[in-house]
């Protein structure tokens, strides 16, 4: 196996009774990477993290940390530290004692210990809080104590289990950026578990999207969002419109599907498709445009005559629901680039329009 990986999972399986919580997961996580495990609850992301931490042993497969087999090494002998979802701070210890715990367990000399605890608290901007107890601190502060307590041990890999889940929206955004910049400064590999796709996109170098114990796709945020390789990923990350059909034409990396109503729609194929195969066109609402019927040009990849049905103004965007002649509705988002109070400058309900989309903006996916 490759020595350059911080974490390597090869066909890792974890069964609880009959259920495979993690089903043949293979992952390579680079040194210094901010790597996210993203998926809905019960997808196996937390179990995967817990196996890396050592709280669960795999039922099968190989797990390596910097090339060393780890599958059955107990957690207290692993070079990783965890930030728990509930923080799991020791309530009977002060902040300083919490942070010092890992060093104490490793019998770090007292003089060095004090300095390292102080440095860790400085790093998370809690220098003045050393003598407080966790219960005297806010959720965001406890979160930072948990970070300091883990990072003070200089782990090879830091594991974060939905650490921002309990914070309110504003604090969450702040902590996202803070975590990201912290990771840059310390240069440690972060493995971040989350069910929040926006959070994963914001923070990660790479993301593994999981569902039902399997890794569906691994890629950069851009790849995951712009080139999802399956319907689940397209649906789970961001918003999208799905249109079902059959592949009627296929060339290079593009394919055309035909809907039951005879509409022909062309899009990019992240994975090869076969003629005649059932396929789905995924069209993100911000990637399509609405134009007046007279403005449609034949060189657009596809055009769909539609009627504007509902218009929702949300500040930065206007979200327009349009109805196809056959009855199905699609969402299209337009950025409000014009600053005007005159809503007549925009679409009106009932208006006829044409939805246009260049082929690179739509994806043809099979499952």
């Amino acid at each position: 196996m490759h020595k350059g990986y911080a974490i390597e999972l090869a066909n890792v399986v974890k069964r609880f009774g009959e259920v495979a919580a993690v089903d043949h997961v293979t992952l390579q996580i680079h040194d210094g990477e901010f790597f996210s495990l993203l998926g809905p609850s019960g997808c196996g992301k937390t179990t995967t993290l817990r196996m890396i931490a050592g709280f669960e042993y795999p039922s099968g497969g190989e797990l390596m940390i910097h090339g060393r087999p780890m599958a059955t090494v107990p957690p207290h002998h692993r070079p990783v530290n965890t930030v728990f979802q509930s923080y799991a701070l020791f309530p009977h210890m002060t902040v300083a004692q919490n942070v010092a715990f890992g060093l104490k367990m490793k019998r770090v000399p007292r003089a060095e210990l004090g300095a390292r605890v102080q440095a860790a608290l400085d790093m998370v901007r809690l220098a003045g809080f050393a003598e407080r107890y966790p219960r005297q601190m806010s959720g965001g502060q406890q979160q930072r104590v948990a970070l300091a307590r883990a990072l003070v041990n200089q782990p090879e890999v830091l594991l974060l289990d939905e650490p921002l889940g309990a914070l309110d929206q504003k604090l969450r955004k702040e902590m996202q950026l803070e975590l990201k910049s912290l990771q840059h400064r310390v240069g440690i590999t972060f493995i971040f578990v989350t069910h929040d796709q926006e959070e994963a996109l914001t923070m990660s170098d790479r993301i593994a999207v999981m569902n039902q114990g399997k890794v569906l796709q691994v890629g950069t945020p851009t790849e995951i969002y712009e080139r999802p390789t399956c319907k689940f990923v397209a649906d789970f990350i961001g918003e999208t419109n799905f249109i079902e059909g059959k592949v009627v034409e296929q060339s290079d990396e593009y394919a055309t599907i035909q809907t039951p109503d005879g509409l022909q729609l062309r899009g990019y194929t992240p994975r090869p498709v076969n003629l005649g195969e059932a396929a789905t066109l995924s069209l993100r609402p911000e990637k399509a445009r609405l134009v007046l019927p007279s403005h449609a040009r034949p060189d657009d990849a596809f055009t769909m005559p539609v009627h504007v049905e509902m218009i929702t103004y949300i500040g930065s965007d206007t979200r327009i629901t349009v109805r196809l002649n056959e009855g199905r509705t699609l969402d299209v988002w337009e950025q409000n680039t014009l600053s005007t109070l005159d809503r007549n400058a925009y679409w009106q309900p009932g208006e006829a329009a044409v939805l246009v989309c260049p082929p690179a903006n739509a994806l043809v996916l099979t499952e």
Partner: protein, 291 residues
């Protein structure tokens, strides 16, 4: 901040309601608990008559006897010592048992908790007699040993038997408070400990034990205090060979001829003062935890 007249009226009503709720219990404790205690305290300063009758002549002689006669002092020391041992063994057996129960799935927990409590459905005295049957020279253990061709053991009427009976009787009182503390304990903290490099044993020592200390302390108090004054177990299983403070008090009140209530009262008073000291220590430690 100044309270409005409405708020003050509300407070007064609230106080009256609390007093009404408190009154019956207060009355009960006053008449049936505090008053007898006062009687004992008064008796302890009186003189015993030649036929065991009370002579209303104040004296400190009872207390002087108590602290100067070796047999009395020894009884105190012995009682405290066997109570320490009982508490220790109950803790060493009770903590793992409570931990084992907490770790079970909910249904099994309930069953195990009921099993811990089942002995309470039978009278304590009966259960101690049962131990006699088990430990006796021709009892269960020795008959079994005999049929196996092994040498028999002298078990009943030893201090070991007393200790066994005490630990047996007091174990539930240790298990239950520790169970309650462990039930509230967040076991994620043990994972956090392991994650930070603590072996199972060190995580227990630095995290689980300190956090469940209130349960341990409560259990220790519940076991220690009744054990200091007990007389039944040492009488029935220990063969009344050595005197514990409870045996002495019982004898002075009920068995000696003539009885000596003043001395018995003095012994009770001293025992209560000692125990009160332990309880204060306990409260001190728990309130410090809460701070």
């Amino acid at each position: 901040m100044a309270l409005s007249s409405f708020e003050r009226e509300q407070q007064r009503r609230e106080q009256r309601r609390l007093m009404a709720l408190l009154a019956p219990g207060m009355f009960w404790l006053l008449v049936f608990f505090l008053l007898p205690l006062l009687v004992i305290l008064v008796y302890s300063f009186l003189t015993n008559g030649p036929r065991g009758n009370l002579v209303w002549q104040p004296t400190l002689q009872n207390y002087v006897d108590l602290f100067t006669q070796a047999s009395y002092v020894n009884a105190y020391v012995r009682s405290l010592w066997i109570s320490v041992l009982t508490t220790l063994f109950a803790l060493l057996l009770g903590y793992p048992l409570a931990l084992f129960i907490v770790k079970q799935p909910p249904r099994a927990r309930l069953v195990l908790l009921i099993l811990v409590l089942i002995p309470f459905w039978t009278n304590f005295l009966v259960r101690i007699y049962a131990w006699q049957i088990i430990l006796a020279n021709n009892g269960l253990i020795n008959t079994t040993l005999g049929t196996l061709g092994l040498p028999t053991l002298f078990l009943l009427n030893t201090e070991g038997a007393t200790l066994l009976g005490l630990v047996y009787g007091e174990l539930p009182f240790m298990v239950l408070p520790i169970y309650a503390a462990l039930d509230r304990f967040d076991f994620t903290l043990m994972e956090a400990g392991a994650d930070l490099g603590a072996s199972k044993w060190r995580a227990f020592w630095h995290i689980m034990l300190p956090m469940t200390m209130p349960g341990v302390a409560a259990g220790a108090v519940l076991v220690f205090i009744p054990t200091v004054g007990q007389f039944v177990v040492s009488e029935l299983l220990g063969g009344a060979k050595v005197d514990y403070i409870g045996n002495l008090i019982q004898r002075l009140f009920l068995r000696s001829n003539p009885p000596n209530w003043p001395l018995g009262s003095a012994m009770s008073t001293v025992m209560m003062v000692v125990l009160l000291g332990f309880i204060l220590l306990y409260f001190r430690s728990t309130t410090e935890e809460d701070r």
